[in-house]
Symmetry: C2
Subunit: 355 residues, 2 copies
């Protein structure tokens, strides 16, 4: 068949008006349509393989069941698991995602937003590749918008971010509890918010335990920088017995460095890496101990919040009358969500032998 069947086609086949079709198919037939006609309509719909045209539905209801997603690439690239989880969750909720690349450029972004606005998206998600301050655009006061992995400095929009500080602290605790007293840290630039927060978490934890830290900062968190920084740390006199890498690419560099120096992980030196969603570590040899940014959890929370924000009806139906409910209404103050890091300990850390 060239075209999809319409409600009119179903009505014709069943010998009723198309309002009757609509009523029956939407479960509002009760006390309106006779049993016989109901059956006829259902049968006709089945035979014609009828499903309502979503475009017409959108025009009528003024909601498109579509969420616009703004992303842009970066030296780190956007997290695939995060995008994937966003897609999965949205699909499960019956929503479509329209991805738009802003190319990290205001012009692109405003064009993208105009397009999304024209398409009547129900809500907007801004998914940043790395933790930054994000200055919202005007239209975001009109369309429910949630920031993921970025923060509105003025606090106007709700944000969902990972607890980077806690991730750093967890990494340090892990090594300290394994008995390490000399720990090296390969950190990114303090200008990068995630890097800075993670390092602060590491430092605070180390300080509380009076642990020596040798920190090397690199300007961009790439493999080469990780290699060089780790080499310096590993070759220094009185070298650390354990390494914390603040980003996964730095960790990959450190692994290469250790291998090239004939230093075995974790036998000779322990390594803990903080991950950003590129999933480089999972198949590495040797396997690494990693603390993952909770990308999937963040994504799911973002979609859930977005829909609650927008889709009041559905929310009320839920019968979940918790106090949280109020927080989600558009007029209420935005609510920032800080998601705890998920720890994946792939390789147990070796206790330090205090060489």
């Amino acid at each position: 068949m060239a075209h999809k069947a319409t409600a009119q086609n179903v009505a014709d086949l069943a010998g009723v008006s198309r309002s009757a079709v609509s009523l029956v198919l939407n479960g509002r037939a009760k006390g309106h349509i006779s049993r016989v006609k109901q059956q006829a309509i259902i049968e006709a719909a089945r035979r014609l393989n009828y499903t309502p045209n979503a475009v017409a539905l959108s025009l009528r209801s003024r909601r498109s069941r579509t969420i616009g997603v703004l992303t842009w690439p970066d030296h780190s690239g956007v997290s695939v698991p995060m995008l994937h989880a966003t897609l999965e969750k949205a699909t499960a909720e019956g929503y479509l995602l329209i991805f738009m690349d802003t190319a990290n450029d205001d012009d692109h972004q405003s064009r993208a937003l105009a397009t999304l606005h024209d398409r009547q998206v129900d809500a907007l998600l801004v998914i940043a590749p790395q933790l930054i301050d994000y200055r919202p655009v005007d239209v975001m006061s009109t369309i429910p918008t949630i920031l993921v992995n970025c923060l509105d400095p003025n606090g106007g929009l709700t944000s969902i971010v990972a607890d980077e500080y806690a991730a750093g602290a967890a990494a340090a605790r892990l090594l300290i509890e394994a008995g390490h007293r000399r720990i090296g840290v390969v950190a990114g630039s303090p200008n990068a918010m995630d890097s800075r927060l993670r390092l602060e978490g590491v430092e605070a934890t180390a300080a509380a335990e009076h642990i020596d830290l040798s920190v090397r900062m690199v300007s961009t968190p790439d493999i080469t920088s990780g290699f060089q920084a780790a080499s310096r740390l590993l070759l220094a006199p009185n070298a650390p017995t354990a390494l914390i890498c603040i980003h996964e690419r730095l960790a990959l560099g450190a692994v290469l460095s250790a291998a090239s120096l004939n230093i075995a992980i974790p036998t000779d030196v322990s390594l803990v890496s903080l991950e950003d969603g590129e999933q480089l570590a999972p198949q590495l040899v040797p396997q690494l101990t990693t603390i993952n940014r909770p990308d999937r959890a963040m994504a799911e929370k973002a979609v859930t919040l977005t829909l609650k924000r927008f889709d009041k009806d559905r929310f009320d139906q839920d019968g979940d009358e918790s106090t949280q409910q109020l927080t989600f209404s558009c007029s209420a103050a935005p609510r920032h969500s800080v998601v705890a890091p998920g720890r994946v300990n792939r390789a147990p850390c070796r206790p330090a032998d205090r060489r």
Copy 2:
């Protein structure tokens, strides 16, 4: 303002009927509307910040300017550069992309297709994470569909694939021309079409030059397998002076292996890797010589073909009356596109010193 301005709002402000608005704003005013009213309409539209509602447009024109994209993850994951290029190209052409994850599962896929059909997508793109045979679904005879990185065994649908054989041949030629006579190959499973074709390209080229090849096949192309296979090759008596890795993860494993064996690349052994779009190599130490699958070119070609397929009008306007034109009509035989590999030579191969 709560809602977008409508054509009626513009008409009211300009004091004309809304047909006049439509005519003027679509450039069909010539000889219909007086200059004065044209100005009034344009001014009113500007003041109200009017842009047409895309949903209404879709309903009326029965085209949504939207392309549905079917993807699914895999041990290798879908290529981010490919998706990104698809998005960029589609956006540039004024089309939106709706990504759907089929989870490599028929049920998911048919649900996704039903959704896309309801949404009136103009066309479909199937983007496979690795080269496979893909059996089309019925609905794809109704909606213009193009396969990317996969092939319809019955040839019913147009496919865009990379020339994997040529990529393998290029890798071999590169090393042979640098003087290598003993070449090791870390290959994936012959059951994987891309892996098999690449290996065939390598083997044919080597055979033509009477070059010795030591091939090690692994069942899954992950880092660990690459590490192990490369270690075997490098430790064998009369070890190869150069390595070809059929997939990028295998190459990463090989690099780790060489580093752990204190074998320098490219000083002690040359390495050429075939890439699949994960972009692991770019920041590696040492940098690698790579031959990239032309993901961006494939994506752009896919979008172009899709739109030509669908959007006859636009194509005719182009005035491009080449013979190719006929090939794109829906009724014509499908046309398979094999895209030549793009070579990126990041690190010059060192000539073999015939140890």
